[in-house]
């Protein structure tokens, strides 16, 4: 029995990792997943910030645009968004695929970040804006120097959590032929014909990274709570 288990395991490792240096597929896939997540997160935060401000100003047109954006994005699956953005909207843009995918996921994430930031900004005491305006700062200056820095602090942990969500979302990047970590599982499966092992490996890698990020988020939350 034990010998059988050992055989199965060592075979699984040999065929899915060692042979033909297949572990490199996972390593490269992970690299792509992380790059994609980081780029998308940056784009998402920028979009989220702009859209949150658009939602909070009194400009009706900006309000409408921002609301339409968040409604559409939060109302449709990210896979569908990815396909539409990749094949339809940015179809013939000639941009590198990683960039297009980052844009697609960034646009997706941005809608959720918008709500985060909006809530974070609204959580900043109203008196802060009044004090800033009474000193002669313009609305945008008050936002930039007074409100947003405080809001950021409020929402940092939630942003890390959104980052984790984003990392998981990018697992469908294979839909546009980007060789991310999940795709690496598919490729290895196509080579080894082993239905379980590649994806269990993939799952473990994701799990490891998200655990790290979760632990980091916890520490961040505590740190920020202390500094109040």
């Amino acid at each position: 029995m034990l010998e059988g288990v050992y055989r199965v395991l060592s075979d699984a490792i040999y065929f899915n990792l060692i042979r033909e240096d297949r572990y490199m597929l996972f390593v490269n896939g992970l690299k792509v997943s992380i790059q994609l997540t980081v780029f998308a997160a940056i784009i998402g935060v920028i979009i989220g910030l702009l859209m949150a401000i658009a939602k909070l100003t009194n400009n009706k047109i900006l309000n409408r645009i921002a609301t339409a954006y968040t409604d559409v994005i939060r109302g449709t699956p990210s896979v569908v968004q990815l396909i539409v953005i990749y094949y339809a909207i940015l179809g013939s843009s000639q941009l590198p695929k990683l960039l297009v995918a980052s844009l697609a996921f960034g646009i997706n994430s941005g809608a959720y970040v918008t709500e985060l930031i909006r809530a974070g900004i609204q959580a900043v005491d109203k008196g802060q804006m009044e004090a800033a305006r009474s000193l002669g700062l313009s609305y945008s200056q008050a936002m930039r120097y007074v409100i947003v820095p405080q809001a950021i602090k409020n929402i940092l942990p939630a942003l890390v959590s959104e980052f984790i969500v984003l990392l998981k979302e990018t697992a469908v990047a294979g839909y546009i032929a980007l060789d991310d970590l999940t795709r690496a599982g598919t490729i290895v499966r196509g080579r080894t014909f082993d239905p379980y092992t590649p994806f269990i490996l993939v799952a473990l890698i994701y799990l490891y990274i998200t655990s790290m990020l979760t632990a980091f988020m916890g520490r961040l939350e505590r740190r920020l709570r202390q500094s109040d």
């Binding site: 005491d125 008196g127 802060q128 009044e130 004090a131 800033a132 305006r133 009474s134 000193l135 002669g136 700062l137 313009s138 200056q141 120097y145 007074v146 820095p149 405080q150 602090k153 109040d228």
Partner: protein, 240 residues
């Protein structure tokens, strides 16, 4: 200096200010008293366009606030404001709080702004607190920093909205002292306050507000010594 003509303000259906008329001269210290909900804060905030009047006119140095909403940031620089809840910026040090507006709004060079901020801190008696965050200050210290912050823009008039009501009793004195000094230096001031002692001693004129209008006004002697209206008397009997 400031002229208010038939000022009205409604929040939805609720009419809070029902026609305010008054004039505040240069160097004058005007204290506003009245029951809670009578519209004192709203009046003060209108002077700064923190609330937009529903009707009426406000002139500062002869310029209509209502006609120059575009230049509101310019006009606001002439008017400093101090809030009941201090509203210091918690993510900045005391010095940064004071320097922010001069540097960003007046484009004053950092060094000059810093020198000025340090001088103002000395003036409010907090020279040693320049690199401290607001959370490490007591209420009275916070309010003095808030005053210094408003003064950093060299305003022509200072508005105070119950600057001492959020303070523990032992800290009220230190804030009032700073305000008294300001008044003596000739600053034009509009002070909403429940500190009748301060109003009597420092105020050139007292406005008694009731249900959205200025019911009675006069020198402290007139108003405290010999109130004409029944309402004024009732109010004063409760607070004195």
């Amino acid at each position: 200096m400031i002229k208010v003509v038939d000022l009205h303000k409604s929040f939805g259906d609720l009419e809070v200010l029902k026609g305010i008329n008054t004039e505040i001269r240069k160097g004058e210290v005007v204290c506003v008293i009245g029951a809670s909900g009578s519209g004192k804060s709203t009046f003060l905030r209108c002077l700064n366009l923190l609330e937009e009047p529903t009707k009426g006119e406000i002139y500062i140095d002869g310029i209509s606030l209502m006609e120059h909403k575009k230049d509101i940031n310019k006009l606001r620089q002439k008017v400093g404001m101090v809030f009941q809840q201090f509203n210091l910026f918690p993510h900045m040090t005391v010095l940064e709080n004071i320097m922010l507006a001069p540097v960003k709004v007046k484009k004053m060079p950092e060094e000059e702004a810093r020198r000025k901020a340090i001088e103002l801190l000395r003036k409010v008696g907090l020279s040693d607190k320049d690199n401290v965050y607001p959370s490490q200050l007591s209420g009275g210290q916070k309010q003095r920093v808030a005053i210094a912050r408003a003064l950093a823009m060299d305003p022509e008039v200072m508005l105070f909205d119950e600057p001492t009501s959020a303070l523990d009793p032992e800290m009220v004195g230190e804030v009032l002292a700073v305000m008294k000094q300001l008044a003596m230096e000739g600053m034009t001031m509009v002070v909403v306050t429940h500190e009748m002692g301060f109003a009597r001693e420092v105020g050139d004129r007292i406005l008694f507000m009731d249900e959205g209008v200025i019911l009675e006004e006069g020198t402290p002697e007139e108003l405290f010594g010999n109130p004409k209206k029944e309402r004024t008397r009732a109010f004063l009997s409760k607070v004195l």
